[in-house]
Structures are given as C-alpha cells and as structure tokens.
Amino acid sequence: MSTAVTEAPAAVTLAGVSKVYGRGRAAVHALDEVSLAAAPGEFTCLIGASGCGKSTLLSLVAGLDTPTAGQIKVGGRVALMFQEPGLFPWLTAAGNVELALRARGAGRAERKARAAELLEVVNLREFGGKRPHELSGGMRQRVALARALAQDADVLLMDEPFGALDAMTRDLLHDELDRVCAGRNLTVLFVTHNVREAVRLGDRVVLLSSRPGRVIADYPVPIQRPRRIDSAPVAELAGTITDRLREEVSRHGK
C-alpha cells in the first residue's frame, strides 16, 4: 500500500508509520510501514491476531506515544476508550462525564446540563448519581462512552471496548454505538479481535498481520444497517475475513 492521497481531507491519516520498541537484538517491531486513511464519519474496524500492534496504533493516533518512523495526521480532537472503562472511582457517573466537560472549559451549569444529556444518550439518565462500582460492567462502559462523547471529539478510538463484556450486553452496546454514531459525524477507529463484531459495526474492516503489524487486507462492509451480529450477510463476510486471518496466523506459526 502506498500513501493514500485522498481528495477529501481524511480525519485520520497514517503514512508509513512504524513503531519499534527497544533497540538492537531486543527490538520489537510493533508496527511496520502502516498506511491507512479514515474518512470523516467513517467507522473503521482494525482486526488482527494478538501482537499485531492494534493497541500501539491507537496509542500513536491518540498522541500517547510517538512513531519511530512515518507520519500521523489527525483532523480534530481525539477521545480514547479502553477495554476497562477507566472511570474515576471517587466520582459518580455524572461526575465522570462532568470532569471531561470541565477539562474542555465548560461552566458549571453547562456541565450539569450536558452531562445529563449525554447520560440520556447512553440510556443512563437515572444512574447519574451512582458510583462506578454500583454499576454493571456494561453500564460502566456506557458511562465511559458518554465521557468520551463529552470530550467533543471528532475521532473516537476504541480499544476492544466490549472485550470484557458478556455476549448479550455486547449486543446491546453494539446497537447503542450504532445509534450514537448515526447522529454524529464521528470518525471511529475500533480495535477488536472479534471478526463478527468488526463486521457488525464497521463501514470497513482492516486486517493487520502479526509482528510486525502490517495492513494485509482492507474489506469494505456493504451490509445495510441496522445489522445483526447473527445475520447471514454478517456471518458470511466474517467467515471470509476469518479464513484470511487463519491463513495469516498459520503462516506465522511455521
């Protein structure tokens, strides 16, 4: 893949991005010449076996780390969601959202109103006064989503955000995420190792190879929304991608 030159300015552009941890013999090539462009409002799922540098890629886009080589361009503010909700245990659900608003410089009244609004968006209106430990795993991840939305980000990075949840809760959150993204021009980079989840959510699915992480395939997902994770078209495309992924894993196993 060469550096993508797009007509519309992409929300996220990675051009020949490499990341090496350590030096000399102990060096680990986490990412190797990854080039990727995500259009504004596009939902991109990144998928790959473990060790493909998915999380590294998100850290680089979030600016938490710098690439060894290559360039990253991000148009707008970035918010990041992790597998763990990462909520502040000393604050209530509403307090967590309000702190994000405060960091953006919102005044007290605005914070209160916006936080209530955002909790409504993730269906947690009545739970604003609860502390994280009083909420279920799925609810905590919803609060984390509300907190990410409070950052008024243009780009939302999600690092296996539903990986620790049971299948049913995950299904519900997929629907919710669809709904949340539909009303906003939110560019999403969504990392997962669950192929069906990727097909269920993404406008496209990008396959990364393992160690070093490289883009090996890029599948558009032409399936009409709303989608169901157990529907035939989703299963079919997921099957194709899984086969490709298996190939990659076995090639690596030798």
């Binding site: 979030a62 938490l64 970035v78 918010a79 990041l80 992790f82 763990e84 990462g86 502040f88 245990p89 000393w90 604050l91 702190l99 994000a100 405060r102 960091a103 953006r104 269906n123 947690l124 209106r125 009545e126 739970f127 502390r131 994280p132 430990h133 009083e134 909420l135 279920s136 795993g137 799925g138 609810m139 907190r147 950052q151 049913m168 809760t169 519900l172 629907d175 919710e176 709904r179």
Partner: protein, 281 residues
C-alpha cells in the same frame, strides 16, 4: 426509547442491598460484644494473677486500680491533663499534616528532589522518635516546643510517604484517561492525582497519628513541665511515687484515647472504601 434495556441485563448486575440505620445499629452491637468480652477476659486474668499473690506488694488488683481511676476522674487534675495532652496532640499533628503534605506533594512532583530526599524521608520514618529528645531538649529547653518538634519529626514523614505512595500508585489507565481528556498540570493534580491518592494519604495520616501519639507520650515523660502537666507528666509523677494503681489507671486512659482516635481514622477509611467500592459490603 431504549431505556428499558437497562431494566433487563444490567439491572441484574446491580447491587440493591439497602443500607438502613437498623442494620448499622445491629452491626455496631455485633461489633461491640466481642470487645466487651475481651476486656472482661483481661480483667479476670488480671484478678487471677492478683489472687496468686505474685508481686503482691507492687501489683494492685483490678478493683483497687479501677477505684483509683474513678477517683482520679472525679478530680479536675486528670481532665486538665487530658485536655493539655490532647491540645498538644492536635496542634502537633496539624502541623505535621501541613508539613508532611507539603513535603509529600513537592517530593512526588519534582524528580531530583525525590532522588535527594526520598530515602531520607523513609529513614526518618523508621527513626525511633524518643531518640530525638536529647537533641530537642538541648535545642528548645524543657518546654512544650521540644515535644512539638519531636511530634512533627515523628509524624510528618509517614504523612509525606502516604501521599507519595498515593501519587505513585495512581493507576496508569486513569492517568491516560485524564490526560486524553485534556487535564493538565494543576487540573490533573487537583481532579485526578489528589483524589486518586486519598486512600493512601489517609493510611499515612493514620500511621502519622500513631507516631505523633507515641512521641507525645514519650515527650511528656521526659520533658518536665510542672506548669502544664499532661497525662505523661502525671504518669511520670506516679512512677516517682511508686503509685502503681495510678500508673495503671493512666495507661488505661492512654489506651482508651488511642483506640478512640484510631477508630475515627477507621471511620474515614471505611467511608472512602465504601465510596470507591473497595469493600465487600
């Protein structure tokens, strides 16, 4: 629209156990009887030892001692001493909190400072505070300032270390979340690092109090202050007069005060743990 999705799965996960006042009361009572039993047991063993006649000329039985305690409690002297002692404790501990917190905040923030004095603080923490008294008494003379000085030296390092530990153990995930949110420098400290270090800080305060209280007792035994006698001063006088019943009475008073203050810290600690969801109900 979809707010009924909550009613299903998530609601099952929620902890709905009510915390009523009657439960609190019963918990208090159920926590009380083992303590009463333990005290009764100690008194029985003490009485038995007394009955064997071991050291009978110097060791009074519980009856005589508790009567002595009752008599002391009816005179103003003991209460004055308790008041003066507690006043010293509060002033000394407050100063230690101020100094310890300031030092802890600076050391946790400034890397070279940490390298320079980090291990010194831990060293001070392990130093038996009684060893400071010769130095303090020569420096300040036989007066309360010497005691105050030793209280601060005894308590401040624990408080500083508590804060430093709290800052160090702020979960990296929360720090990441905070920085990505746009919290920087002062706001990062105020809204994230300080609240995150609260449990360790309270643990430091509790330990600091224990050191302060020990330093204070040692100080009142060593530093002669006839114009403002504290509990330690009275204890020292009992030693001079070989008044064992009086001495044991005062030891009981010191124990009770220590336990009371400790339980205050425990209440604070438990409140934080409950807030954070660190307790198993």
């Amino acid at each position: 629209m979809a707010s009924n999705t909550l009613a299903g799965l998530d609601a099952l996960d929620l902890d709905v156990s009510p915390r009523t006042s009657s439960r609190l009361a019963s918990r208090f009572l159920s926590g009380l009887w083992p303590k009463v039993l333990a005290i009764a047991l100690v008194i029985v063993i003490w009485e038995l030892i007394h009955l064997t006649g071991w050291k009978k000329y110097v060791l009074p039985g519980p009856g005589v001692t508790l009567t002595d305690l009752w008599d002391q409690a009816r005179t103003g002297l003991l209460w004055h001493a308790i008041r003066d002692t507690l006043q010293r404790a509060v002033v000394g501990f407050a100063l230690a909190v101020l100094i310890g917190t300031a030092v802890g905040a600076l050391v946790s923030r400034i890397r070279p400072l940490r390298a320079a004095v980090g291990s010194l603080i831990t060293g001070l923490q392990t130093m038996p505070s009684i060893a400071w008294f010769p130095f303090a008494i020569i420096l300040f003379g036989q007066n309360p300032s010497a005691i105050l000085f030793v209280i601060i030296l005894g308590a401040a390092p624990s408080i500083a270390n508590g804060l430093i530990a709290g800052v160090d153990y702020t979960p990296p995930l929360l720090l990441k979340a905070g920085t990505l949110m746009g919290l920087r420098r002062v706001s990062l400290y105020r809204h994230l690092i300080l609240p995150a270090s609260l449990p360790a800080f309270v643990a430091g305060l509790k330990q600091g109090w224990a050191f302060a209280w020990r330093s204070l007792m040692a100080g009142e035994l060593l530093v002669t202050m006839f114009n403002q006698p504290g509990i330690g001063t009275l204890l020292s006088a009992d030693q001079d007069q070989a008044d064992m019943a009086g001495a044991i009475s005062l030891i009981i008073v010191i124990l009770i005060i220590g336990i009371c203050v400790d339980s205050l810290f425990n209440v604070a600690d438990r409140a934080i743990r409950r807030r954070w969801g660190l307790t198993q109900a």
